[in-house]
Amino acid sequence: MDEKFDCIIVGAGVAGLAAAMTLARNNIKFLLIEKGEFAGAKNVSGGVIWGHDLAKLVPEYWKEEDGGWDRFINHRRLTFIDDQSSFSIDFKSDHFNEAPYSGVIVLRSKFDRWLAGKVEEAIAESDYAMDSFVATNILVEEVLMEDGKAVGIRTGDEKFYADSVIIAEGVNNLLTRQVGLQDKYVPADHMLTGVKEIIRYDQKVLEDRFQLNGLSGMSNEYVGFATRGVEGGGFLYTNRDTISIGLVLGLKDLREKNLKPYDILNDFKTHPVVRDTIRGGVVVEYSAHVVSSGDKRVMPDKLYKDGLLVCGEAANLLMNAGKAIQGMDYAMRSGILAAENIIEAKEKQDFGNSQMKKYQDNLSDSYVMQDIDNFQDAVHLLHNPVMYQKMPNLINHFGRNFFTISNEPTQKARDMLRASVKEHASYWDLIKIGIKGARSL
């Protein structure tokens, strides 16, 4: 492999694979490098891929007998919990049953490996069937820069050269820091740690318990007592014969509250509502990974350099604005946009700064940055203690009163609500949250 590539992609996660697929389909000679034993070997997500981009990448993926995804989502639930109760917003609809699905649940070790297989197929059909590669088990230690321009990568003593480099290395973005697009030290303030267990059931038991039909699935997010008062929340997704259950915890808050993430996860699993949901399974994996919050204050301002683009969570492209935790769909779109820029650059034979900047412009025009820009207030709101502590307590206090039938004269709901507010928050809290919430969503 002494010949120069058009592009080297670092990282075979969702962003890197989306970029690779786009390059392969457009006859670009590239090298995709992954440090794990196989694509997905080191990747962890919640996780749901939202939206329709997967159908662009792998047309009619749903027709495959055993594709890389686990279940499509037609049932969503947002649950507020206090110490012993839960109050949910629950939405299920056959409207979501038609492909292309608007959300599929995945396990990354399986999904990424499957998607990498699709990339290999696309390479085999391209003009560079013998010259483009997906290489695993290789750790990129350095992006080679010459006169401010990215010219390749180094692994150990070996160097590979290319006209362009796409960094898709994930949230622990050492190379992005090395080339100076991210600070050398990123503080804990707007970062979170996710901890998760995979719990296995008899598939029939799982399908009955969660009212699943065929390959339909459910996503459930939890706000409130899930986290022992630490900023963050919980999640539960149904896979084929397992569930993914876990917490996302604010790192700074975890540090200040002196708590262990795996202890909080056990607390969450013993919460009366969660306990009855997960009964009887066998834990088959425990995992953890840092995750971005979607707070723009932690994102690199600039996602390009001469000959270089950064995409996916390496660029902190992930957001939870209350409706869904979106990360893999952002990774996919940014990977596609990065690759499209490289395709154009090759046509023009111009990999310079102004051509690379177009990637960031296109990303800014896309739903990814528009949503991140438009929902910053919602991100801040979710990390406000009133929202993740007082509100769930208040809602459940109200729920308990509202649903209690006591053979006593019954209060009007309005009066019950007033009592709950008095007990758990102030009107001023609510007014502030109301104003912020109305503006942010």
């Binding site: 990747n43 740690t193 002196n258 013993t270 009964r279 399974g281 995992s287």
Partner: protein, 100 residues
């Protein structure tokens, strides 16, 4: 359902080069900093794999063997004690997820 201890949880994880005795650590911790100036020693409780422990005298110790490369310590340590890299595929220890 039965709750798992952290050791039971870590026992479910597959690591690379598990059998090798001579591995190159991918994280270096200057515990001198932890044990002299750090006011919180937070890595001893925020690390999801408990790679950082505190002994009876309150001193911080680090072992890389259980590391799952999550990145938590790299952000949580605000004292400059943690030098974080990814493990070398051949001579490092690192995680391979079965589910992910």
């Amino acid at each position: 359902m039965k709750l798992l201890s952290l050791n039971e949880r870590l026992g479910l994880i597959s690591y690379r080069n598990q059998a090798k005795s001579d591995i190159k650590p991918h994280i270096r911790v200057d515990t001198e900093i932890c044990n002299t100036v750090c006011p919180h020693k937070c890595t001893t409780y925020v690390c999801p794999a408990n790679c950082y422990t505190m002994d009876e005298e309150g001193k911080v110790h680090f072992q890389v063997e259980d590391c799952i490369e999550c990145g938590t310590c790299m952000y949580a340590c605000d004292q400059g004690a943690v030098t974080w890299e990814f493990p070398d595929p051949e001579i490092g220890r690192g995680v391979t997820w079965n589910f992910g």
